[in-house]
Structures are given as structure tokens and as C-alpha cells.
């Protein structure tokens, strides 16, 4: 009887594995977080079960890893909490200091945009505005956006974007009011997440991840990933894009780091702004015209300004001018900023002033 049972089971397994069912391709990648890639995007953020306990505390569940970058993109004074979900038994692979990690199919990069009442004292409370996901599907990355409700209990998918108001007290104690924070449409993600015709993550490249853990300053983040078994192939020494907020650094270093984080996702070879020929990524090794010095922009006319960068003259430089604007078509970056980044403007002013 038992033997017959096993034969039947074997027969069924053989039958199933040889069938040509379209569902086979889309079988769940793993069970442990119950994310069925074929069903992604889910309607609600809670459906993914990324977090344990109250979702708005953003405590990562199994398979979800917190990470931070050295030099963050300015996004209207939001704070960001970043996570990577990896399917069970998979890991990320190193593929160069300045290339984003090679992520396994099923990876979801999770970025939460948050206004703290006072960034200097997080215990005073916060509002999570939105959570953006980048999902590594079978053949390409896909972006999905979720907007949090007023009760901060759930976030629902929002394809078409929207606006909210926000405010926060920044590191320097200044109150920052953001009357029109823009949640991008999902299609807008491509504006920045674009390299050589493919949608790609931007932040998680080794030179950006090469920093201390936010919650344990004795541990390097990359080494921690390796120890946890979720990152392989790393060399002994990895470059670092410095933290532009570090006031002990020289103005040129801070400026280049700022440009890398805030401009170079488009302004690099193969980026969205490739045609413009302005390459201001940290690892661009060329000199001269492509760094912006005495470069006439391809498609922008600034009042009384000729060149992207005039060495020593920040106020004659289009690059700085566009950072001080908030309206189309002058504003740079073209999406993601509705008010000025005062600290960034000062960093770039000092940078251009110090270019010889």
C-alpha cells in the first residue's frame, strides 16, 4: 500500500514537472517572506510583510536588511530608511566599486521617505510619506510606489503620484516647510533610474555602501553584509564616495561627493543626460569640458550665464544657478526637489570657488 502511494506520488511529480504550464515560470521565488513575484506589485505595502510589529516602526523582518549610503540624495529634507529584501538563500554580488551590486531575481529595494518633527530628536515623532520599491523582476527592474495613510497604518499603491505638505526641523535647527512635496508617478522613476537603457538602482553601489553601520559604529556595513552571507565577491579594499556633510573634508572633495549623489545619476556616461556630455560622477576620470568647466550646456539658456562651471566664479556658473531654482525648466535635479537645499548650495558654491 505504502509502495503504491509513493509510485503515485512519483508519477504525479513527474507529470507536473514535465507539464507546460504557464504558471511554472511565475512560481513563488521563496516561501519565507511569502512574496510571490508574479503577484507583485501588491495593492498594499503590508501585503509584502517586510516589517514585523507595527508596520510604521519599520522593523525589518527575516530577509529584509537595513542599509545606508555615505552620501544621500537630497529629497526636500526627508529622512530615508532603506532596506533590501532578498529571497531566501540568495545573495548580492560585488561587480565593481562604482557599479550597483548584482541583485538576485526577486530582490526588492525599499526606500521610505519620512519627515521627522525634529531630525535632531527622533523621539518627537515622524510621518512616513511614501515608500518606493524597486523590484528585480525576471528580466528587469520595476518601480512601485506606496503612499502612507494619515493614520500611518498602511500604504496603498499610487501609480499616478501626488503631492503632500511636509515640515521638519533640520540638523541646523532651522524649520523647513515643504508646501508641495511631490510623490512621483511610477513612470517618473525612470527619469533618474536609468543606465544604458536599463532601469537600475542608484544608491547601492559598494563605494556608497562603504561606511559604518548606522546602529553600530564599530562595524563596516559591507563587511557586515559579507558576514551575514548576503554579499559575495568583495575585494579587500573598496573605494568610498565620501559623505559631503563631513565638514572636515576639503571643499573640492565635498563638492564632488555632493554632485555624485545629487546629479550624477543622470549626469554620467549612459545616464539620462548622457547626451549633454556633463559627467560629474565621483569616478569620472576625465578632465576639462565634460566636468562642466567652460562647457556650454546643450539645451539650456540661463540668464546672463554662459557655462556650466566658471572656475572660481560660482555666481557665473549655470550649475549653481540651477540648484537655486525651483521652477521648470530651471530646477535641477528635474524631479525630486521642490525647495532649495541650502546646505548643498553652499557646498557647491565653495566647490566652484575653489576650482582653479
Amino acid at each position: 500500500m505504502q509502495k503504491t502511494f509513493f509510485i503515485v506520488i512519483l508519477f504525479l511529480i513527474t507529470l507536473l514537472s514535465s507539464s507546460c504550464n504557464i504558471e511554472d515560470k511565475y512560481a513563488p521565488i521563496n516561501e519565507y517572506a511569502n512574496i510571490d513575484l508574479s503577484q507583485v506589485p501588491y495593492n498594499n505595502l503590508s501585503d509584502y510583510k517586510f516589517f514585523t510589529g507595527e508596520m510604521n516602526e519599520l522593523n525589518p523582518d527575516q530577509g529584509v536588511y537595513s542599509y545606508n549610503v555615505t552620501s544621500p540624495l537630497f529629497s526636500d529634507y526627508t529622512s530615508k530608511e532603506r532596506f533590501i529584501y532578498l529571497p531566501e538563500g540568495t545573495n548580492m554580488e560585488y561587480q565593481g566599486d562604482f557599479n550597483v551590486l548584482n541583485f538576485p531575481i526577486g530582490t526588492i529595494i525599499i526606500k521610505n521617505f519620512i519627515y521627522y518633527k525634529d531630525i535632531r530628536d527622533k523621539s518627537l515623532g515622524r510621518t512616513i510619506i511614501e515608500t518606493r520599491l524597486l523590484v528585480r523582476k525576471e528580466t528587469k527592474w520595476k518601480p512601485f510606489s506606496y503612499k502612507w495613510n494619515d493614520e500611518q497604518t498602511e500604504a496603498a499603491r499610487l501609480i499616478v503620484g501626488g503631492t503632500v505638505t511636509g515640515s521638519t526641523i533640520a540638523e541646523n535647527g532651522n524649520l523647513k516647510e515643504i508646501p508641495r512635496y511631490v510623490i512621483p508617478r511610477e513612470l517618473d522613476c525612470r527619469t533618474c533610474h536609468n543606465l544604458n537603457e536599463d532601469m537600475l538602482p542608484i544608491g547601492p553601489k559598494p563605494a556608497n555602501l562603504n561606511r559604518l553601520m548606522a546602529d553600530d559604529l564599530s562595524v563596516n556595513q559591507i563587511e557586515n553584509f559579507v558576514e551575514q552571507g548576503i554579499l559575495s565577491g568583495t575585494p579587500a579594499n573598496i573605494s568610498q564616495v565620501p559623505d559631503y556633510r563631513d565638514t572636515s573634508l576639503d571643499p573640492i572633495t565635498r563638492g564632488k561627493a555632493y554632485l555624485d549623489a545629487n546629479c550624477a545619476f543622470c549626469h554620467r556616461q549612459g545616464g539620462t543626460a548622457n547626451a549633454n556630455g556633463l559627467f560629474i560622477n565621483w569616478d569620472y576620470e576625465g578632465e576639462g569640458i565634460h566636468t562642466g568647466i567652460f562647457k556650454i550646456p546643450t539645451n539650456f539658456n540661463a540668464p546672463d550665464l554662459q557655462y556650466d562651471i566658471v572656475p572660481g566664479s560660482p555666481d557665473e556658473s549655470i550649475l549653481l544657478y540651477r540648484m537655486t531654482q525651483t521652477q521648470a525648466p530651471d530646477v535641477m535635479p528635474q524631479i525630486g526637489r521642490s525647495i532649495n537645499h541650502d546646505e548643498g548650495i553652499e557646498i557647491i558654491r565653495e566647490y566652484i570657488y575653489n576650482i582653479e
Binding site: L187, N274, A275, G277, I289, I296, N299, Q306, D330
Partner: protein, 442 residues
Amino acid sequence: MKITRLLQLFFILSIIFVPSCGDNDEEIIVLEEVTLISFEEATFSEDEFIIYLTEDPIGKTFSFGPGTYSFANTIPLADIDNLTIKGAGINETYFDFSNSTSTTGEGIAAVDCSNLLFCGFTVQNTNGGNGITARNITGLRFDGVGVVWSERSSDNGAYGIYPVESDDIIVENCYTQAAVDAGIYSGQNQRVIMRNNVMTLNVFGMEAENNIDVEIYGNEFTRNTTGLLTYDLFGVSRIKSGSNCKVYNNTFTDNNESNFAELGSGLAADVPPGFGILYSATTALEITGNTFVDNECGAVLGVAYFLVDFNFDPNEDSSFTFLNEDIYIHDNSYSSGGGTYNVAGILDRPAGPLVWYTIALNGNVRPDIFLDDQDYTAGGAPYAGSRAVIEESSDVVLIEANFVQAGDGIITITSTSLDDFTGTGTTHTNFDLVDTPSDCVE
């Protein structure tokens, strides 16, 4: 539901072969969905349209009935194969962006697509960005598309129709008005045809920048600041130096409007009014069969890149061709109309190096063709460009000048004789463009 009501679905049976899991290939019949989605002005929802574009845009035709559709944001197209956006006609269907809050200010922005067709509509009053930007597209056709701004204002978008870093492009039967740079632009593209378009009241009617293989014919350039700009800009990425452009059978009429761009960077800010064609840093350009009427400063102006950018250093990148080479100007029709120079308009552009060209006209007979002698010393080295080959009737007025000291106001006339411009002209090389089909019926 509204969407369902608007949907018109057409299913086409097609047969495709897919490998089976077993050893035998088998034939499977599947339904391939080809969808026409129609919108009407009264019931149109921008959000619905955006959801379609996000979730399932491939292979779709989006058809817009007559009327004015007001958009709150740019229409984004990304990573789509085979898409058509179609209106009821260039004077029937309007996409209005007067109330858009887009931070790029663009009307339509397409990136990384193939086989895109735009036809039968007009984009109007974008909030500072281009009318239609198309970046990295393979197979792109604009047929009967308008891009207009109601007034000539420096707040207008720089470009009306703006394909860049793309291949196999046709722009035809289009109309552009009041772009603050160029009505129709083509930059860093390969295989481009721009034909039978009408450009008026722009700074430049049309601009071709760093392209390989271009034909510009049958167009009307009327009442722009200057008609056509074809040149190579230094420091771009995909095509550093373009080549092979033929400009033929166009009409350039009364391109003398004041320049309404803000004084600033680039040629649009610098160009004084009154030219039919301006070319610079160009290789293999043939200008023939065109009709020039009443362009006050001249029909054709050719300058080396030094006059575009006083800070240009030829030692920085030897791959950039900054002199004009293989220029062939022949068999055009010139009619000056006896107007006077727009000196006020010229002096309105004091920042531009090009202004020296037009100031040099003072006291001289107005030329039809006005050329740089391309004799420069830069970085300690001499540069001497070759002369254009010109075959025109003997009454065509030509001035060639040396501008080495233009910045000091010293300009020397080096030739006024067509006899100095003889030779064997390089004719345009034909190219095979992969045609994006147009199903626009008008």
C-alpha cells in the same frame, strides 16, 4: 465603468511557435491583443491615461478625439515598443500644458522606446520645457504634429520637437511656433529626415546638431529670428562631430524677428536676427535648391566654432571638428528684397560673438553668403579650414572675412569673389532610413 466604455479592443488571431516542455515542438494558438484606446475630451481622465501608460502600453494606439485636453503633468513614455499617440488633426486635437506643474516643463517625454508614432495633434504652451522630448528612440515619426506657444516669451520651452540620441527619425508635416531656441531640433541622431514642416516665430526655425545623415527638404522657414542652424556643439557625448547633411528645396522667408531668448548661453541667446541658414563646425553639408527671400542679414552664414565660443580650445579634444569642411552651396535662389539691416536687433545681442559678423556688415553691401575665412591661431598653432565650394549665379553677393580680432572689433574682408570658391563640391550621400509606418489619415 468609464474606461471600459471607452475601450475598443481588437483581437487579432496570430500563430506563434513556442517550444514545449517535451521533445516535440507543438503549435500553440494564442490571442495577441492589439488595442486601440480612444479618449474623448468630455470624459478624458489624465490619471486613466497614465495608468495605461504605466501598466500596459506596449503595442497600443492612444487616439484622442477633437478638443482640448488639459494636462497637469508631462506625459511620460518609457521602455515601450510600438506605441502611437494620435489626434484628430493638427488643428483639431490640442494637448494643453498651461496649467501643468511638471518640473521638467515638458509636454511629452519619451525615453528608451522603439517605433513611436505621434500624429495629428498640437502640444501647446508647455510650462518652460520642450514640447516633445524623445531620447534614445529607435524608429520615431512625427506626422502632422504641432508645438506652439501663444506668445513669443523667454519663458517658453526651448524646443518644440526634440529627438536626441535616437535613430531613424522622420519629422514631417509639423508646425512649430515661438520656441525660445528651435522649433524642430535634431541632436546626436543618426538617419533623420525633416520634411514639409512649417516653422514660424521661433528663435531658430530648425536646428540640427551633431547628427550623422540628415535630409532637410520641403520646409518653410518663415519669420523666425534665423531660419536654420546646423552645427556641431563641443563637449557632447554620443556624436561628437556630425556629418552628411543635405538642405534642399526649402524656402527661407523674412527670418528677421527679434531674438526673444534671454541673453545667456549658446547660439540661441547669441544669434542676431536676419539669416536664412547659419552653420558652424560642420562636415559634409550640401545646400541646394533653396529659395531665400528677404532675410535681412543674408541667406547663408558659415562660421568656425571659435566664433560660437570664444573660450574654445581645440587642443582639448582632437576628435571635434571645429572648422567647416566639405561645404557645397549651389543652385539656390536668392532674393534680398532690398530691406535694411535690423541694427537694433543686432545690437540687442551684445554678448554674442556672432554679433561681430553682423556689425561687420555696416558699410558693406549686404551679402547673400557670408563666410568665415577659417584662418585662426589657437593655442600657438595655426588652423586653416578649407573653403566652401560655391556654384551660384554671378549676381550672388559674397563676403568672406577674417575674424581673428573680432573681439577687438577688427574684422578684415578677405574675399568678395565667387571665383575664389570653385572646386568639386561634395554631394550628399544617400542613406537608408528604417521607416516607421504612419497610419495617420488626414
